[in-house]
């Protein structure tokens, strides 16, 4: 199901013997932000065929979404089919590396010195992906709201805080755009 964070949440709750519906609700809540990815891809990929959309939905993970939406904003003239091929293509490149990376991690993870903290590679990659998307005051207002909101709401169950912060941040961006045009 290629959804690391929600699998992790489920396992943690199962170790604590939480009721099944709690396990499911928490694990799915972690992934709810992807409904927003899905909606935001619709104007780009909605014109692709149903099987194409079904496949794109399957590979709609954070990294694929971020790379895809970055490219689609640069290339507004691409047809839905071009966009679909790009979207699935990035994932076709990422997926084997993901599997190999997981294997290398399992086999050789202990060989890395602890100082060499690779876990910070993930924030660095996502910040590098997102920063070029900030082009207007509306984008800046959205990003700042997102950060402040996610930090303030981080006490909520995993996935809920980011969803609420994201919805508020989107409204802030849309409102700034509306007032300035």
């Amino acid at each position: 199901m290629i959804a690391g964070a929600s699998q992790f949440t489920a396992i943690q709750l199962m170790i604590e013997n939480a009721p099944v519906f709690i396990v499911l609700a928490a694990a799915l809540a972690v992934n709810l932000r992807m409904a927003m990815y899905s909606a935001s891809l619709q104007p780009h990929l909605g014109g692709a065929s149903l099987p194409q959309r079904a496949l794109a939905a399957y590979v709609n993970v954070d990294a694929a979404y971020a790379l895809g939406i970055l490219k689609f904003e640069e290339e507004p003239d691409w047809s839905p089919k071009d966009k679909f091929l790009y979207f699935v293509g990035t994932m076709a490149l990422m997926f084997p590396l993901w599997v190999v990376g997981t294997w290398v991690g399992a086999v050789a993870g202990d060989a890395l010195p602890e100082k060499f903290d690779l876990e910070f590679a993930m924030p660095i990659m996502f910040l590098a992906l997102t920063a070029p998307l900030v082009k207007t005051l509306a984008h800046l207002g959205t990003a700042v709201t997102s950060v402040v909101g996610a930090l303030l709401l981080s006490f909520l169950p995993s996935g809920i805080g980011i969803l609420l912060a994201g919805l508020v941040a989107m409204a802030v961006g849309a409102e700034i755009e509306r007032r300035r045009t």
């Binding site: 099944v20 909605g46 910070f120 924030p123 660095i124 910040l127 950060v147 912060a165 994201g166 849309a174």
Partner: protein
């Protein structure tokens, strides 16, 4: 863990299907229909609304320091954002962040 094997498989199956339906939702069901302008205006801000918030807690409370705010990681994050934004280049930004992190971790005794 106290679940029967059937329960565990059911959890895995429902998580898989549920996650897929979440990802398919709008993309699959709306298809080619045009959404109203105000919806599109909101959706344009989705990446900038979600991705920064997704990483903010990881920068603020990094695992490497056991969740203590850490100037080295703030510096690495700032370098990443500055370079990626100024040159509109993701790889340059990621490289700047990685180098900043590596150099500062090496220079500053733990």
């Amino acid at each position: 863990m106290n679940y029967s094997e059937a329960t565990i498989w059911a959890i895995i199956a429902i998580m898989g299907i549920g996650t897929y339906l979440i990802r398919f939702s709008f993309l699959g069901l709306i298809g080619d229909r045009k959404m109203p302008d105000w919806v599109l205006r909101h959706l344009r801000y989705t990446p900038v609304a979600i991705l920064p918030g997704l990483v903010a807690p990881l920068v603020m409370w990094p695992q490497a320091t056991g969740g203590e705010p850490d100037p080295i990681r703030f510096a690495a994050a700032a370098a990443t954002i500055a370079v990626a934004w100024w040159w509109k280049n993701m790889l340059a930004g990621a490289a700047a962040g990685a180098v900043t992190l590596a150099v500062l971790v090496w220079l500053v005794p733990a």
